[in-house]
Amino acid sequence: MLFNSVEFVVFLAVVVALYAIVPQTIRWIILLISSYYFYMSWKIEYGLLILASTAINYVAAIVMTRVEQERTRFVICSAAVILTLGILFTFKYIGFAIDSINGVTESLLNARWIDPIQLVLPVGISFFTFQTLSYTIDVYRRTFTAVTHFGKFALYIVFFPQLVAGPIERPQNLMSQILSPPTPTPALFASGLQLILWGAIKKIVVADHLALYVNEVYNNPGANQGIAVILATLFFAIQIYCDFSGYTDIAIGSARLLGFRLMQNFDRPYLATSIQDFWRRWHISLSTWFRDYVYIPLGGNRGTVAIKNRNLLLTFVISGLWHGAAWTFVVWGAIHGVFIVLEQLLNRTGIRFQGIAGWAYTFTVVNLAWVFFRCNQIQDIPTIFTSAMNLSASALFVPSISKIDNLLCPLLAIGLLTAERLSTTSCFRVPFQNSLAFRYALYVTGILLVTTLGVFGRPNEFIYFQF
C-alpha cells in the first residue's frame, strides 16, 4: 500500500476515525492491527519477519533489565544485534555478497563458487531493523528502560506511518508517545493534513515528473549527451529530495493525525554550505543513527586525527551500503566520507566552507555523488560522465518524452525550490498563519496541482522503499 495511492487515503481515513472513536486505553490495539495490516498488504509473510525481529529484541531487552552482570548484558545485546542484522543481511545482502565473491573467483579462477540466490527484499527492512536496534542498544546502554508490554513494543517497531521509509525513530521519542499517547489537537491535526498535501505535491507532481526525464537518461546511458545528462543529474537531485522528503512529510503528517509527533528528517539540504552541513540537513534520522550507533562506538572523535578520519570514512561507507546492496551505493557513501574527511583536514588549517562558495562546492559534490547513487550499475559510470562532457552534441530536450514534460521538469524543479525558500519568509508566514482564506486558497491550489499535473497510472514507488 503506497502512500501515493487511493487505498492508503481510504486506509488512513478509516484508521483515524477508529482511533478517534475507541477509548484511549485500547487505541494502541487499533494502531497495532492497522500497522500489521498495512505492512502485510505488501506480502503476508512480511508480518512474520517483523514479528520475529520484534520478539528477538523484546526478549533481549527484558532479559538485559533482569541481569546485572555487564558481560552477560553485552552478550545478550550482541546476540540480539547479530540476529536482527542477520535477518537484514539474509534478505538484503546475501545476493550481493555471493555476486561479489563469484566476481572475484570468476576473474581469478574463471569459475563461480556459489550459486546465485535471489531473495525478495522486504519493504522497509533496513528502516525497521535500525529502529529495533536503537531500542535494544539504548536498553543495553541504560538510556532507555525496557518495555514490558509486548503489544506496545510491537507497535513501536511496526508503527505504520514511518514503518517503510522512516524517519528512523528513537525509543525516547516514539515509544514514550506510545506508552502515554498524546491527545490529538485540532492544530496538530490541521498541520498533519498540510504536511500530507505538501508531501503529495512533492512526490506526485515534482518527483514523479522529474523521474520521466531522469529515468530516460539514466536507463539508456549514452543515448543522450551533454546538457541533457547534466540536467538529468540536477533533476535527480531534486527528484530524490522530493520523493524522500515527500514521503517523510506524508509519514509525519499521518502520525500527526493520530496525535503523534515524529522527528524532523530534512532541513532544506540543498542550502548546505559543506558536506558536513549537508548531513545535518539530509535524512537526519539516519545520519544521527549512524553517529550514535556506528561512529561513536567506533571511537568517534577520540584518538588521533587518522583514527577519527578512519571512523568517519568507515561510517559513510557503511551508510552507503545500508542504502543498497551494490557497489554504486558504496562508492556514493565513500565520496561523502572522503569529502567530509577533507573538510575536517582543511578545518584544522583554518579553512572553512561557508557562503556562496561553500554552497557551490557542496552542491557540486552532492550532485556528482548522486550520479553513482542513481546509475543502474557501476559499469554505466564512464558512459554517463563521457556523455555529460559531450557538450557539442547536446540537446536540452529528451526526445522520448513529450515536449510538455521536457518543459515542465525545469519549471517544477525551480518552482519547488522557490516555494521552499518562500515558505520560510515572513511574507508567506504571516498571511499563512493569520488568514484562513489565504490558507484555503493554497490548499485548493495544491489539490488542483496534484490533479492536473500529478503523475498517475505508472508504478511510481518511493525511491527509498527499495532500501
Binding site: I21, Q24, P186, I404, I447
Partner: protein, 329 residues
C-alpha cells in the same frame, strides 16, 4: 470522538470550530473542483486535436460516406482520394487505438448529438476489435470530456455493463477522472483546445497517412485468435444505430502484411458479415508486399493510395440493399 478524547470543554469547542471549518473547506473545495471539471469539459469540447474532439466539432452536416474504425482505417485510407474517386462526400471518423465500444460512442455522438446524416458507413473490423473484452479505462479516457452526454454514457453502459457503475461513482468527486487522465487531457491540450496552436495529426477529412517503410527486422506474422461473442454485441449495436438512422453498412477488413491462423477468423466471418449489408475481406490483398506497409497491420502512404483505389471500386460497385446502385452511381 470518544469522551476520553477530550480533556476539557475548551478542547471540545476547539474541535467543533475545526470540524466546522473543515466542513466549510470540503464544501468549498467540491464547488471549486466541480467548476474546474465543468470548465475542462467545456474547454476540451472546443478543440479539434484529438479525433473525438474533431468528430464533436462536426455538426449538422450530410455525408454520402462515413468511414469508421481503428488505426487500420485511419492510416490505410486516403479519404480525399476516396472522395475524389467515388465522387462522394466522405469523412473518416476512425480513431487510433479504438475498439468497437469507442466506435459506438463516436457514431452516436456524430449522428445523435451533432445531428449529422450519412447514407453509408464503411465500418472497418478486424480480430483485434473482436477478440478482446474491450478496455474500459481506455474508452473512458477517450471520451472523458463528453462522458456526461447521453450518447456517450449510453454507449459506455452498453459496452461495459459491469464496470460502468464504478466509473460513475468515481465521477461523484469532480476532477478525479481528469486527475487519472491528466497526461492525455493535459493542461497543454486544454490550451490547445482553446487556441489550436498544435495541429492534429490527421488531415482535413480525417485520414492520417504515414510515409514510412516497414523495417526488415520487424515481426511479420499476425496470429488471429478466436473471436469473442461479447464484441459482436457492440458491432451489432453500431450497425443497429446506423440502420435506425437509415445508413447502409459496408463492413471490411483492412490488409495485413501476413495474417496467420485464419481458421478462427474465417469461421466467424459469416456471422460477422451477417451484421452488415455488404462485407469485404481485404485482409490478404497485399500479403507479403513489404513496400506497402509500415508495420504488420498498417499500410503506409503508398499502400494506402492503392488500397483506396480498391476500396473505391468496392464502394462504387456495391449495390445497396434496397436495390439501387451504390451512392454516387
Amino acid at each position: 470522538m470518544s469522551s476520553s478524547t477530550f480533556n476539557s470543554d475548551h478542547e471540545i469547542r476547539t474541535w467543533r470550530v475545526f470540524l466546522r471549518r473543515a466542513a466549510l473547506f470540503v464544501a468549498m473545495l467540491w464547488v471549486v473542483l466541480w467548476t474546474v471539471d465543468t470548465a475542462f469539459n467545456w474547454g476540451f469540447s472546443q478543440g479539434i486535436f484529438y479525433k473525438q474532439q474533431w468528430v464533436n466539432s462536426i455538426r449538422d452536416q450530410s455525408f454520402d460516406l462515413v468511414v469508421l474504425g481503428s488505426s487500420r482505417s485511419l492510416t490505410t485510407i486516403d479519404t480525399a482520394g476516396l472522395a475524389e474517386r467515388t465522387g462522394l462526400s466522405v469523412v473518416n471518423l476512425s480513431l487510433d487505438g479504438s475498439g468497437p465500444a469507442d466506435q459506438l460512442c463516436l457514431v452516436k455522438m456524430f449522428l445523435e448529438d451533432n445531428h449529422n446524416t450519412a447514407k453509408r458507413i464503411l465500418l472497418q473490423v478486424d480480430h483485434w476489435a473482436l477478440t478482446g473484452p474491450g478496455n474500459v479505462d481506455s474508452s473512458y479516457r477517450f471520451f472523458l470530456p463528453f462522458r456526461n452526454r447521453k450518447s456517450v454514457s449510453q454507449s459506455l453502459a452498453v459496452a461495459y455493463p459491469e464496470s460502468g457503475r464504478s466509473y460513475r461513482l468515481r465521477d461523484a468527486i469532480p476532477m478525479v477522472s481528469y486527475g487519472r487522465s491528466n497526461s492525455y487531457w493535459s493542461l497543454d491540450k486544454l490550451a490547445n483546445s482553446l487556441h489550436a496552436f498544435q495541429k492534429p495529426t490527421f488531415g482535413e477529412l480525417g485520414s492520417h497517412l504515414i510515409d514510412r517503410s516497414y523495417p526488415t527486422d520487424a515481426p511479420t506474422q499476425c496470429v488471429v485468435p478466436q473471436v469473442l461473442a461479447a464484441q459482436f454485441r457492440i458491432i451489432n449495436e453500431i450497425t443497429e444505430v446506423c440502420r435506425t438512422n437509415g445508413i447502409e453498412v459496408l463492413m471490411f477488413t483492412a490488409p495485413w502484411f501476413d495474417r496467420q491462423d485464419r481458421g478462427g477468423w474465417q469461421a466467424q466471418l459469416p456471422e460477422l458479415a451477417a451484421l452488415a449489408d455488404h462485407f469485404h475481406d481485404f485482409g490478404d490483398l497485399y500479403r507479403g508486399r513489404r513496400e506497402l506497409f509500415y508495420d504488420l497491420s498498417h499500410l503506409n502512404k503508398a499502400g494506402a493510395m492503392i488500397f483506396t483505389e480498391e476500396l473505391a471500386s468496392a464502394v462504387v460497385g456495391t449495390k445497396s440493399v434496397n436495390g439501387t446502385q451504390a451512392v454516387g452511381q
